[in-house]
């Protein structure tokens, strides 16, 4: 283990040294502090997932927590909420991507009455604390006698995902030449043909990025789901929060490693989402 850490550190040091541009020692040291700060807790968690001991002191390598996570009946409820999270993430991301992409095209290329108002209403949820979205939707659902379930979670997640889809797809549209679409119209394309043959293929990378961001945000959400999830509709973060209030079961280490592994794969696939999400137009 220490050997592995040293070799990784050695590698990082090597990478740092080969930079030929002048960079300050100060920014380098802060960056290293940031990396240690970000990765040390995760490294400990990964290490502990292979710990034979129930406590956190090391007592030898073991896969018992993985065995318990996947095969013990006491964690069936965890997998049910895991499934709920996956369903909520995929459905709400799909709905938000469709609605948000069409909205982005409408807002970006056309002028019409109420455009400004729609834009404000669509971006606002991003700026107000998420708990307000959770509480207000819970009150809406309760007032309209819509029973809380996984379905209400999907509605709520779609709502907070739309602004992010809008942001990302509009960023993509900015780097896109409207002349191409004019050309399509001049050549006799109908609006539907222009949309499906020209616009959507051109903004496709943005759409994929938006979808991935929406999936991630939905999987990450605790506070909104906490207020709007009904019986049987709990998501994984809601389940985890209720478990972690009582202690830190070692099985969660194993679960975390499984999720982190998925995250690393997702990170490789979605490196370019950053440039859409945080691109600044000012």
């Amino acid at each position: 283990m220490t050997g592995a850490v040293q070799s990784v550190l050695g590698k990082i040091k090597g990478i740092m040294n080969t930079g030929n541009k002048p960079t300050g020692k100060f920014s380098l040291s802060v960056f290293l502090v940031v990396l240690v700060f970000l990765y040390l807790p995760l490294a400990i968690l990964i290490l502990n997932s292979f710990n034979a001991s129930k406590s956190m002191s090391w007592e030898g390598f073991s896969l018992r927590w993985y065995n318990e996570l996947f095969f013990s009946p006491s964690w069936v409820s965890l997998w049910k909420t895991f499934g709920n999270s996956a369903v909520a993430a995929l459905t709400s991301a799909t709905a938000a991507t469709v609605v948000g992409t069409l909205g982005a095209i409408g807002l970006y290329w056309y002028r019409f009455r109420a455009k400004k108002a729609i834009q404000i209403a669509a971006f606002m949820p991003m700026l107000i604390p998420e708990i307000i979205i959770g509480v207000s939707l819970a009150m809406l659902f309760a007032s309209t006698k819509l029973p809380m379930s996984l379905f209400t979670v999907i509605l709520a997640h779609t709502t907070f995902n739309i602004p992010f889809v809008l942001l990302v797809v509009m960023a993509r549209l900015e780097s896109f030449d409207f002349m191409i679409i004019e050309a399509a119209y001049d050549l006799g394309a109908t609006e539907y043909q222009a949309l499906s043959k020209v616009i959507l293929p051109a903004v496709f990378p943005g759409i994929i990025a938006a979808f991935l961001i929406a999936v991630t945000l939905s999987l990450d959400d605790f506070v909104v789901a906490f207020f709007v999830a009904g019986p049987g509709g709990s998501t994984l973060p809601v389940y985890l929060e209720s478990r972690l209030k009582l202690g830190i079961p070692p099985v969660i280490n194993a679960l975390s490693v499984v999720i982190i592994a998925g995250t690393v794969v997702l990170a490789f696939l979605s490196r370019n989402i950053v440039k859409y999400m945080f691109h600044s137009n000012k």
Partner: protein, 303 residues
């Protein structure tokens, strides 16, 4: 002239946002002026009692704690994120470093919180084990369940949200401007403060807005990492909603929370105006042309 399809494209989104954002927000606002029903819900009678109920020391303490946590965590994040993203943007290996930040950025927050519970845990947690081993302490310390722990974990959770927008802006910055400033005799610090900072305002704004709003309304971190004396507004809202079922009070607190965030955002955006905006405002105020910025830039180019 072609038909204007704009409204058609925007209609589903407009309908969705009206139904699931505008109406619920209106509900919260109106419920905050209504009378409490015993079993959750409200009685449609106008009253200000939900706002009057906020006028008590406990609420002020919680509100102050919320501001403090969000403020401290944001400062901590930006202080770490600025030098770190500067280093990343100037490095030869920026794509690799970017990946190293994207992984924690995408990692589930509940796992990040869980990881820190392991670090702070009193019984053989990482920090206690280390301090005991190093001989700094002779019996374990309770790191969890207080405000400082909440600040650290909040900063940890949202640090990538501060780094990524700063990195993307700094990456677009023309570093030769810094070298020019140094050649013209500016110190490293002056060059950073007067050339780099004004040019990356957009990134700073995004970073602060993302981190501050997220920290301000967070529920999971104070509820798992905080203790009774580190209650934040969201804990309060949760308690009133689930246990006390006082909907008007939940609504008035939500209104206050929204107003506080909005004010903080507006103050920050005001402080973080670009020199061009400030110049424009001054010009409008004094009605005097301010061409000094352009002239300075012109001289710089000639040199």
């Amino acid at each position: 002239m072609r038909k204007n399809y704009g409204p058609l494209y925007a209609a589903p989104m407009a309908a969705w946002m009206i139904l699931f954002f505008v109406i619920p927000t209106a509900i919260i606002f109106s419920y905050s002026f209504m009378t409490k029903d015993m079993h959750g819900g409200v009685i449609y009678e106008f009253t200000l009692s939900a706002y009057r109920a906020l006028n008590n020391p406990t609420f002020f303490k919680v509100a102050f704690n919320t501001i403090w946590v969000a403020f401290a965590a944001t400062i901590l994040m930006v202080a770490l994120a600025m030098p770190a993203s500067y280093y990343m943007a100037r490095s030869k290996h920026k794509n690799f470093f970017l990946l190293l930040i994207i992984i924690p950025f995408l990692t589930n927050s509940m796992i990040k919180i869980f990881a820190w519970m392991g670090v702070f845990w009193i019984d053989s947690g990482l920090l206690n084990s280390f301090l005991l081993w190093a001989g700094v302490i002779d019996h374990p310390i309770r790191f969890l369940y207080n405000t400082n722990a909440v600040i650290v974990v909040t900063a940890y959770t949202y640090l990538p949200f501060a780094i990524l927008p700063l990195y993307t802006t700094i990456d677009k910055f023309d570093f030769s401007l810094l070298e020019a400033a140094r050649d013209l005799g500016a110190s490293k610090l002056t060059a950073t403060l007067r050339i780099l900072l004004p040019n990356i305002r957009g990134g700073i704004t995004t970073a602060v807005l993302f981190t501050f709003t997220s920290a301000f309304g967070n529920l999971a971190i104070p509820s798992l990492i905080g203790g009774n004396d580190s209650y934040m507004l969201s804990n309060f809202i949760r308690h009133e909603f689930n246990i006390a079922r006082n909907w008007p009070l939940v609504s008035s607190m939500s209104v206050i929370l929204t107003i506080m965030t909005t004010i903080a955002v507006l103050i920050f955006m005001r402080l973080n105006r670009s020199p061009v905006e400030v110049a424009r405002e001054n010009r409008e105020a004094v009605n005097k042309p301010a061409g000094s910025t352009a002239r300075a830039a012109g001289t710089g180019g000639a040199v």
